[in-house]
């Protein structure tokens, strides 16, 4: 059995190695970066020793930290697609009730790129890739098709090819940070209710 002492020593050594690798990586960096690295090393070292669980795979594609995963897609617009999508997004004015309906969606953004020839879709969601996509197909298929039919080759959310289309255009992130990795959308909903109930309770006690 490994003792705590041994684990600690092993960890120290691997952190020392990591720091050596970082120094090597930054050896040919601009002066500003080398200075920043030297300044940052003490903090980086303690953070490495105190590390939480690292990012993992979100399943088929993408990465996950704790319960929260990332999905980032860049795809070309179909002819007329940019115009249609922009109009529908403006009409909706940020009211995506479909997002609430899915119940695992933390945030999402639609960004138009390269003179409206491409778009970027980036979202943070709970759990693994396949169940997430399945959820969209089950809960808000029409919303999905209204929006994603703006893109080249979108086969339709009910098509057996839809997952391949997404995977083809998804670019997995190489770094992913979530402030509250254990907080699912459902749990944050529960905490909001708990917070409100406690306030009401304290109000009653105060009266």
């Amino acid at each position: 059995m490994t003792t705590l002492e041994e684990t600690r020593t092993g960890q120290d050594q691997s952190v020392e190695q990591t720091i050596q690798q970082l120094r090597a990586l930054y050896a040919d960096a601009p002066e500003m970066a080398r200075v920043a690295l030297e300044h940052a090393l003490p903090a980086l070292k303690s953070q490495a020793l105190d590390a939480q669980a690292p990012t993992e795979s979100a399943g088929r594609i993408g990465i996950r930290l704790g319960s929260v995963s990332e999905l980032t897609v860049i795809a070309p617009f179909a002819p007329g697609g940019a115009q249609r999508l922009r109009a529908i997004l403006r009409l909706l004015n940020g009211n995506f009730s479909g997002g609430q309906k899915v119940g695992t969606l933390h945030d999402m953004r639609f960004v138009f790129l390269d003179n409206d020839t491409k778009f970027l879709f980036a979202t943070a969601y709970d759990g693994a890739w396949d169940p997430y996509i399945d959820d969209f197909a089950t809960k808000i298929p029409d919303e999905m098709d209204i929006i994603f039919s703006a893109f080249e080759g979108w086969p339709g959310i009910h098509s057996p090819d839809v997952k391949d289309w997404i995977v083809k255009h998804q670019i997995p992130a190489e770094g992913w940070y979530v402030a509250h990795p254990d907080l699912t959308v459902a749990e944050s909903g529960r905490l909001k209710r708990v917070g409100k109930t406690v306030e009401e309770f304290l109000d009653k006690v105060g009266n």
């Binding site: 690292p54 009211n95 940070y177």
Partner: protein
């Protein structure tokens, strides 16, 4: 409470929604079949969404905000060797961005290498407006910022916060649409609620 104003504005609102729906039908007249069918099937929910008051706001200088949470999306051009350095740096960090914890207004952030490692897509969700957000980074974690941003063309350094903010804004592309599940929940409020949740669980355990 149903006020008279509400009653009076309802028909107008319905007319506006009808106008918007009409515009959508026109727009989707030449959409692919799957889009046209979806529009038809999705009309009941769309009608509700179109009738709701606007939820979109701006994050100040640039970017979209919903409630208290804003988005920042930039494409940054790598300097020579920058992609290799940043990739190595991210792999060594393994998702432990304690510096972001220290700032306290970051919800999430992603680093995506695009166009054959010539550019990085950086996308984040954060609390409040653009300028105070960047100023906060410059004040709290200038080293951590220089470490990763030094890998891009033209980065002026965080010791020059206003130039750094201008540089970021110049590479930013504002999202056309931005959705947040809990728009009024800041990162700080989330931490507080997690504390309340734990305290309540402990209290209930003691009572039980």
């Amino acid at each position: 409470m149903a006020t008279q104003t509400q009653v009076a504005t309802e028909p107008t609102n319905a007319a506006v929604v009808e106008q918007k729906l009409q515009k959508l039908r026109e727009l989707y007249a030449d959409a692919p079949e799957v889009g046209k069918a979806a529009l038809q099937n999705g009309l009941p929910m769309l009608t509700k969404e179109l009738a709701a008051p606007s939820a979109a706001q701006t994050a100040g200088r640039i970017g979209a905000r919903q409630g208290k949470v804003s988005e920042l999306t930039v494409f940054l051009p790598f300097v020579k060797g920058g992609a290799k350095r940043l990739r190595g740096f991210l792999q060594l960090l393994e998702g432990n961005f304690r510096a972001a914890d220290a700032v306290g207004t970051v919800h999430d952030m992603r680093f995506v290498f695009v166009d054959n490692d010539t550019k990085l897509l950086f996308a984040t969700a954060y609390d409040g407006d653009f300028d105070p957000y960047i100023a906060d980074f410059a004040a709290k974690i200038p080293n951590a910022m220089d470490l990763w941003l030094c890998n891009f063309e033209g980065y002026p350094g965080m010791r020059n916060p206003s130039a750094a903010a201008d540089w970021i804004a110049s590479h930013q592309i504002a999202a056309e649409a931005w959705y947040v599940n809990s728009p009024n929940l800041t990162a700080t409020e989330t931490r507080r609620l997690e504390g309340v949740g734990t305290a309540v669980d402990q209290l209930l355990d003691k009572i039980g």
